[in-house]
């Protein structure tokens, strides 16, 4: 560190280079009151960039510039050019970028740089452990999960990821990023088509719901894995949910019920099913999920319009238009 400070401050080492001040123009706007250090480093950086100088002192300066503003993507780009031009040790660069990410884990550029180095080395062997460490400090870091998904997909490192997901869900069953990772792993490996897998996942959800009934992630996951396959297609699920309603009710359970009824109506339009759906929408709008009142009332009107008596009997709809021809008669 002291060596670097000497580099920057020593006019002997930089005497040949004329620093380039920032060209903000005569009447600057959004003018930042840079510290003296910041101005110095960037004035020299601009000089090097102008010359396209490919040297060790340039490389050292990029680290200084990055420390002052790790979001300067122009500096990162230049550092990568230098890494290649000077044939720098990429293992050492991995150590460097590891430290920087630990200090500033919510920055786009640092993660992208790490990805480039991993690609150049063609070596993902440290990644899962490193990312796990970052996640141990912030289990929802979006960049970390993005990098993790890239590594796993690019290098086919699927084998232990479901285990990792289960461990994190044990630590915090409400971590939505982990539920997403669960979906990511399963959809890219076994898929959800087999009844055995689908059933396992449904059971897993219901177990988590019993333990934490107001965990929206578990309910969303349950809906997410069933919606394209038909919510009412899973035998006995509706009944299980109606049972849960007595002891483990939540706005999420009620919303799930609406979705089950809607799915049932799509396959078999029954007046009783529609009435139940409309009733739950009303209950959600007026009592249990009032923040979403506008939405539940819209859904209610929408269901009535699509499946209600006026949809079949040819009566005009609320806005005065005719329903489409060829609707099924209600049984």
């Amino acid at each position: 560190k002291l060596f670097l400070i000497v580099i920057v401050d020593s006019l002997v080492h930089w005497a040949d280079l004329e620093p380039v001040p920032q060209d903000d123009g005569p009447n600057p706007v959004v003018k930042i009151a840079y510290s003296e250090k910041f101005s110095d480093v960037y004035d020299y950086f601009r000089a090097l960039l102008k010359k396209d100088e490919r040297s060790d002192r340039a490389f050292a300066l990029t680290a200084e510039a990055i420390e002052l503003n790790a979001a300067n993507y122009t500096v990162w780009h230049y550092r990568r050019v230098l890494l290649q031009a000077l044939q720098k040790d990429l293992r050492e660069e991995m150590r460097y970028i590891t430290d920087i990410i630990e200090e500033q884990p919510k920055n786009y550029q640092v993660w992208h740089h790490r990805r480039m180095v991993v690609e150049w080395l063609n070596d993902p062997s440290e990644e899962l452990e490193f990312i796990a460490d970052i996640l141990s400090q912030d289990a929802k870091n979006y960049h970390a999960w993005q990098h993790r998904q890239w590594v796993i997909q690019e290098y086919k490192l699927w084998d232990n990821e479901l285990e990792f997901v289960e461990k994190l869900l044990e630590e915090d069953v409400r971590n939505n990023s982990v539920w997403n990772q669960r979906h990511f792993v399963i959809s890219h490996t076994t898929g959800y088509s087999s009844p055995a897998i689908l059933d396992r996942e449904v059971q897993y959800c219901l177990n988590q719901i019993r333990k934490a009934p107001h965990n929206e992630s578990a309910w969303n996951y349950l809906k997410g894995i069933l919606q394209d396959r038909g919510m009412s297609s899973h035998p006995g699920l509706l009944e299980q949910v109606l049972e849960l309603k007595e002891t483990h009710c939540s706005p999420y359970l009620l919303a799930f019920l609406v979705d089950c009824y809607e799915d049932a109506l799509e396959n078999n339009n029954q007046k009783e099913t529609l009435n139940r759906a409309l009733e739950v929408c009303e209950y959600l709008a007026q009592e249990k999920d009032t923040i979403r009142k506008e939405y539940w009332l819209f859904l209610q009107r929408s269901l009535e319009s699509r499946f209600g008596p006026s949809a079949a009997s040819g009566e005009p709809l609320a806005d005065g238009t005719e329903p489409p021809a060829g609707q099924q008669e209600l049984s």
């Binding site: 706007v29 993507y73 990805r115 997403n180 979403r292 806005d319």
Partner: protein, 375 residues
């Protein structure tokens, strides 16, 4: 509780000062200075505070210095072009809306820049040698449509790539496979609206996801399921509801309200006014956090969305507190005032769409800026 008050004068002073001078705590945004211009100018236009002509001209000249010789705008003079400051610069110039402002933009070079970041799979990198995520599609679509350089070829395969970002939750992630997130969902949806392809999304699933992001106690929005409220999502999340309303309307949905968006408008206004204002001016994420220009922009933008329902023909206002709390309406796709959108479109559509020089194909880090062969 007394009626909440928007601290107009305090916000105005904070913004007026920031447009000229920023403390060294803004060193971390030294590669985002066009953003600072946009956040501040948009906040001022929402507050209906005029921009003095001299200031407007200074902004134009500064942004001209941020423009890259190879096209697009950079985070500061001498830096490389990047889609995010490009988006911000174009928006800022459109807010100013003078001939001088429009003339800053080199449309031919801007098109070259967009081609240089376009990927074969339909996505865009944020800058040459940079990362891909759905923000880039929004930034590209926004600037291309406003400046009339949009061609079908430029966005070939982009809608299908964006669609891959919609996940099991109903919202969109930054790239396919990732968790649904308010910022990325806004970018993907707004990009599709610009490209006329919003109907390709599962709109019902998206609607359910976004309305579920409003917090029942706080009234504001979270960015992702099971995370905390943040004032900036007042725009990224609530701003989706006007987009979806229009999408459903175009699909022939007959049951849409004619007075309200499908979120609790009053509760959002309460959250912003009661919890997101700094008494010395500026807005913020949540109580206890520091003010900044990003949160000032997006809290005010969200407040505007919550106050104004409708479009040109149908307009219904719901102002919480005094009439003086009323902000100007904002365009839910571009997030600048609708008049400025119309004016920019009118200006640039008089100009011919530039002939694209596609020789500058998508570059890797190593070949940055080098022409990839001549046909």
């Amino acid at each position: 509780l007394p009626r909440p008050t928007l601290l107009r004068e305090q916000h105005y002073q904070y913004l007026k000062k920031g447009l000229r001078h920023l403390s060294d705590s803004y060193e971390c945004l030294d590669a985002s200075r066009p953003w600072l211009c946009y956040w501040i100018l948009h906040s001022l236009e929402l507050l209906e505070e005029p921009i003095p002509a001299a200031v407007a001209s200074d902004v134009c000249q500064f942004l001209a210095r941020c423009q890259s010789p190879t096209g697009g705008f950079a985070g500061g003079p001498g830096q490389h072009a990047h889609l995010a400051p490009t988006y911000a610069a174009v928006n800022a110039l459109c807010i100013i809306g003078t001939e001088e402002a429009y003339n800053v933009i080199d449309r031919e070079k801007l098109l070259d820049f967009l081609w240089s970041v376009k990927q074969p799979d339909g996505s865009f990198v944020m800058h040459v040698g940079g990362e891909v995520d759905v923000r880039s599609a929004y930034c590209a679509a926004s600037v291309a449509s406003l400046t009339n350089i949009l061609t079908p070829k430029l966005f070939e395969d982009t809608p299908s790539w964006i669609l891959r970002c919609q996940n099991w939750e109903g919202g969109l992630g930054g790239v396919p496979g990732l968790e649904a997130h308010g910022g990325y969902t806004f970018c993907g949806t707004a990009a599709l609206v610009i490209l006329g392809k919003e109907h390709m999304l599962d709109l019902k699933a998206l609607l359910r996801w976004v309305v579920s992001r409003q917090m029942r106690f706080e009234g504001g929005f979270q960015g992702r399921c099971n995370k905390l409220v943040d004032g900036c999502y007042s725009f990224w999340q609530a701003g989706l509801l006007p987009l979806l309303h229009r999408a459903f309307f175009k699909e022939g949905e007959s049951q849409l309200s004619r007075q309200r968006w499908m979120f609790e408008q009053q509760a959002l206004q309460e959250y912003i006014l009661l919890c997101c204002q700094n008494p010395a001016g500026g807005l913020l994420d949540k109580p206890g956090k520091s003010r900044d220009f990003y949160h000032t922009c997006y809290c005010l933008s969200g407040l505007s969305i919550a106050q104004h329902f409708g479009n040109v023909d149908l307009h219904h206002e719901l102002i919480l507190g005094k009439e003086e709390n009323r902000l100007a309406p904002t365009h839910p796709v571009y997030n600048i005032c609708p008049e400025k959108v119309a004016q920019a479109l009118q200006h640039f559509h008089q100009l011919p769409v530039p002939e694209a020089d596609q020789r500058h194909g998508a570059s890797t880090d190593m070949r940055a800026g080098v022409t990839a062969g001549i046909a």
